[in-house]
Amino acid sequence: MTQKMHIKLTVNGEDREFLAEPRELLIYALRETLNITGPHVGCETSHCGACTITLNGKSVKSCTMFVAQANGAEITTIEGLGSPDSLHVLQEAFKEHHGLQCGFCTPGMITRASKLLEENPTPTEEEVRFGMAGNICRCTGYQNIVKSILAAANELNASKEAAQ
């Protein structure tokens, strides 16, 4: 067994410090050490996107990154996107448009979608489909996921306009 490393992360706005083996994957550090179980494991090979988080401003599949590589990073997971009293626009939109079924892909989907809408606030349907192609859903057939994301984009843009 290798020597453990001292790891510091900012997760959903909170500073977290812990010891971890350098070979440990980020997803397991989040899920098992920090008890942040929103991001899921669907493949461990970067294909499914169930483990998607935002790391230093980018969508990252946390199953294919060592926790050692993430040392010092700022991370947002699904748990940091909204709160029970004030859901994120995307969380509302997924509920409203039936954008989920078993819910296993949903944390990764919504986390990725939140980044996508930051990168491109007015995506076309095609851009949404392309931008979400790293996240697999086995239940919904994507139609309502795409609908949810487009609806959330409209909502975000309408509230931005209203604020101006």
Binding site: Q101, G141, Q143
Partner: protein, 805 residues
């Protein structure tokens, strides 16, 4: 009071009952990352289990040395068959009447088979220890082809040596499992001999895998102080798991609690009982602490529950005008190393005998031969009722081939052979009684919606343009009309391990007029917490928002057979309605007492009982609920509860009409789905939003299976598609938008007329996509090509037909 009563329409809408596109109550949890799946479970002191698996598809296990593994700090135990044998747990019974090794007992029969189970303090140490277990193998000849299996001297299942009879009758060869025959062979052969036209075709429905996004896993916790075993896991049928666990372990059933937490999709993958479940239980008993086992994606694709793998040969007889007169079907079914198919006991090939489809075929014969090979065991219904996808694919391909033989339009051929509305209930040649249907109406609606004739004209023009060299794409029009058979099933002919396939619902009404209902099923994304509350709301007149639905905990839920084969709505949904009616019957007596009239003088009106002829005198269900707990009513027990165990009198038969329009690039083999229209008739519609979502999902899984998804083996039995790199799961980029439509033909025997829908789109979708690909090449002489139609295989078809010359 009277003036304040909302009108009937408002009262009815307030219930959010049948027909309402009610938003899902599950979603708040899931959208915030607060689901609770098995891998989220963390118990104090919990250990992790991991398997040593066989790299060979067929080999003798000469020796296993665990010393190095046990010497690794953090490793608690290494279990092998030798350790399990004294407990008689080194083998376990399968759902198909066979038995399966829990851990390799002397030999291995497929790549990825479980050889030893390592238990360690965390998943990393467990994985390290797996590498340190030294297993010496002696390779044996590998048989991956079922036809070769039936000829070879190589004996795969030495444990069955000399057994000429299996669970399903005589065995013809040492690698043969059973022959299952249905229908009338003699008459069918006579009809085939004397027919105007006979179309014949052999097709391979390739092996694939349900591959839910969450893999299988379990957490076992044996509490030695009170003698209780708790088992959490990815179980589509938790009660059955409890019974099996009790029979296997000898722990009394009341001391076992099985819990299915949230399940990240099942699609049939989570019906079976796997070695991992058994090993986690044994390991917890041995160590006295909780043990978790969760398979990774590779293990999931290699070892737990494949689907299909049917070689089907058909002969279909017809008159010159296209009236079908007989059907003959033979299947060679590759079951892998153990027969672990998940079917009702008396149906070793599931409901394959629904293969006469939606057509009035006077005589038919079906024979299925099950065969052992060096592949993983399984044979589950991947998003379909037992083997119904195979049956529907078979008949829908046979229809297309017959249309070619007759030089006829395939839509018209279907129309002239459909079972007519007035023929229902319809007795099929292979033994089913179809409950209700109106196929012609559905078909006409579908063809009109897509302008079928216009599409055919466009296709003909495209062929001409192609021949003139003006385009390199061809157009395919895929048709399919399917009849599903779901809702297993009547206890008289359907059981799993002897357990009749009824289902159940138990309702408790609380004093303030809200309720909890518990069922024997378990949602894996279908939204039961939302829809079952709707069924109940319409029955008992309390808003769905005031009803909690709970499933999956065997300590609290009534016994049920679980969720698969679209059985939840047909069976548990019926139990829910029936239990609701019992509540209402008691409520009627209470209402009559409160209103000081005779029981017969009140009648039900949406959410209340009213005095006949005096609608201003009433008691709402809420008032009745309170009264049930707060006052002594002569002759009536306090409380308001009911339970119903529902044994369905028949299956239900949902149906649908699908059309797919595809453009295929002849030079790259890439198919572009231009349009997909799906008309479904699932009887009474409980929640249209959820129905549509199910259809989108099922069609996407159909697209995957038809266009690329497979579990492939090389000649040495190596799995070639063990990761998501090679195993095709479509992304948002590859999937089209679907158009959904419906007709409503209620089931005459179901209490609310519902038939079930979750699997229909998969059953109807696979032949529709496949027919679209094949239809694109019909004008150039294509008759049949096997799925999956990936780009390479489509390109090969084009090449074979000389389209690249």
């Amino acid at each position: 009071m009277n003036d304040m009563t909302p009108d009937r329409e408002t009262r009815s809408a307030n219930l959010k009952g049948l027909g309402c596109s009610r938003k899902r109550v599950e979603d708040a949890r899931f959208t915030q990352g607060k689901g609770n799946y098995v891998d989220d479970i963390k118990l104090p002191g919990m250990l992790h289990g991991d398997f040593v698996r066989s790299p060979y598809a067929h080999a003798r296990v000469v020796s296993i040395n665990k010393d190095a593994a046990l010497a690794l700090p953090g490793v608690v135990a290494v279990l092998t068959a030798e350790d399990l044998a004294p407990l008689n747990l080194h083998w376990m019974p399968t759902l198909a009447g066979d038995k399966q090794m829990v851990l390799a007992d002397g030999k291995v029969l497929f790549q990825g088979q479980e050889v030893a189970f390592v238990v360690a303090k965390d998943r990393y140490v467990a994985a390290d220890a797996v590498e340190l277990v030294e297993v010496e193998y002696e390779e044996l000849p590998v048989i991956v082809d079922p036809f070769e299996a039936l000829k070879t001297d190589v004996v795969l299942r030495e444990d069955l040596a000399g057994q000429t009879h299996g669970a399903h009758g005589p065995r013809k060869h040492h690698n043969h499992i059973f022959t299952w025959e249905q229908g009338d062979e003699t008459t069918t052969n006579q009809v085939l001999e004397n027919a105007d036209v006979v179309a014949e075709e052999t097709m391979y429905y390739h092996r694939t895998h349900p591959c839910p996004l969450e893999t299988c896993g379990s957490v076992a916790s044996m509490d030695k102080v009170n003698g209780k075993l708790t088992l959490w896991g990815t179980f589509q049928a938790p009660h059955v798991v409890r019974t099996v666990a009790s029979l296997l372990s000898g722990i009394e059933e009341h001391n076992i609690r099985v819990v299915s937490p949230d399940i990240g999709g099942g699609f049939g993958n989570k019906v079976g009982v796997y070695p991992g479940y058994v090993c986690s239980i044994v390991a917890s008993i041995v160590t006295g602490v909780p043990v978790k086992w969760v398979e990774d994606r590779m293990e999931n694709l290699m070892s737990t529950a494949f689907a299909r793998d049917y070689w089907m040969t058909g002969k279909i007889a017809a008159t010159k005008e296209g009236k079908i007169t007989g059907l003959h079907c033979h299947v060679t079914a590759d079951h892998g190393g153990f027969d672990a198919c998940a079917d009702p006991t008396k149906f070793p090939a599931g409901f394959m005998n629904i293969c006469t489809g939606s057509y009035d075929i006077p005589v038919a014969y079906l024979a299925v031969d099950g065969v052992y090979t060096n592949k993983a065991p399984g044979g589950v219904s991947y998003r379909c009722s037992f083997r119904v996808t195979e049956a529907v694919y078979f008949i829908e391909r046979m229809i297309e081939v017959l249309a070619i033989e007759l030089n006829m339009d395939a839509a018209e051929l279907r129309r002239i052979n459909f079972i007519k509305k007035e023929q229902f209930p319809y007795q099929s040649a292979l033994g089913w009684e179809y409950d209700s249907g109106d196929y012609h109406t559905a078909w006409d609606k579908a063809l009109k919606a897509v302008d079928y004739e216009g599409l055919r004209r466009e296709q003909a023009e495209r062929v001409e343009a192609f021949k003139r060299g003006e385009t390199r794409t061809l157009m395919g029009i895929g048709l399919s009309f399917f009849t599903e058979i779901v809702g297993a099933g009547p206890v008289k002919n359907c059981d799993i391990l002897g357990m009749g396939m009824f289902d159940s619902c138990e309702i408790r009404i609380h004093p303030t007029g809200s309720a909890i209902a518990r069922l024997g099923t378990i949602s894996q994304g279908q939204g039961h917490a939302t829809t079952f509350a709707q069924i109940l709301a319409s029955e008992i007149g309390l808003s769905a928002d005031s009803i909690t639905i709970e499933e999956g905990d065997t300590d609290t839920a009534p016994y049920g057979l679980g969720t698969y084969g679209s059985r939840s709505t047909p069976v548990a949904g019926a139990a829910t309605a029936m239990a609701g009616r019992k509540i209402r019957a008691k409520a009627q007596m209470i209402a009559a007492y409160l209103l000081e009239v005779h029981d017969d003088d009140v009648e039900w009106d949406i959410d209340r009982f009213v005095v006949k002829g005096a609608p201003e005198r009433f008691k709402t269900m809420k008032e009745i609920a309170y009264a049930a707990y707060n006052q002594a009513i002569p002759g009536i027990e306090p409380g308001l509860e009911a339970v119903s165990y529902y044994d369905p009198p028949n299956m239900t038969y949902p149906f649908g009409a699908y059309v797919c329009v595809m453009d295929i690039d002849v030079d790259t083999g890439v198919p572009e789905i231009r349009r997909f229209y799906a008309l479904d008739d699932c009887g009474t519609r409980i929640n249209p939003m959820i129905i549509e979502g199910q259809i989108h999902g099922g069609l996407t899984e159909a697209l995957a299976v038809a266009l690329g998804q497979e579990i492939a083996y090389d000649d040495l039995g190596n799995v070639k598609t063990g990761t998501l790199m090679d195993f095709f799961l479509p992304t948002a980029w590859e999937v089209p938008n679907y158009e959904t439509d419906f007709t409503v033909t209620p089931s005459p025997h179901h209490p609310i007329g519902a038939k079930g829908v979750g699997e229909s789109p998969h059953v109807g979708g696979v032949p529709c996509f496949s027919n679209a690909v094949q239809d694109a090449f019909r004008a150039f002489g294509n008759r049949h090509t096997n799925m999956p139609h990936d780009h390479w295989r489509i390109w090969q078809t084009a090449n074979r037909l000389g389209l690249h010359d």
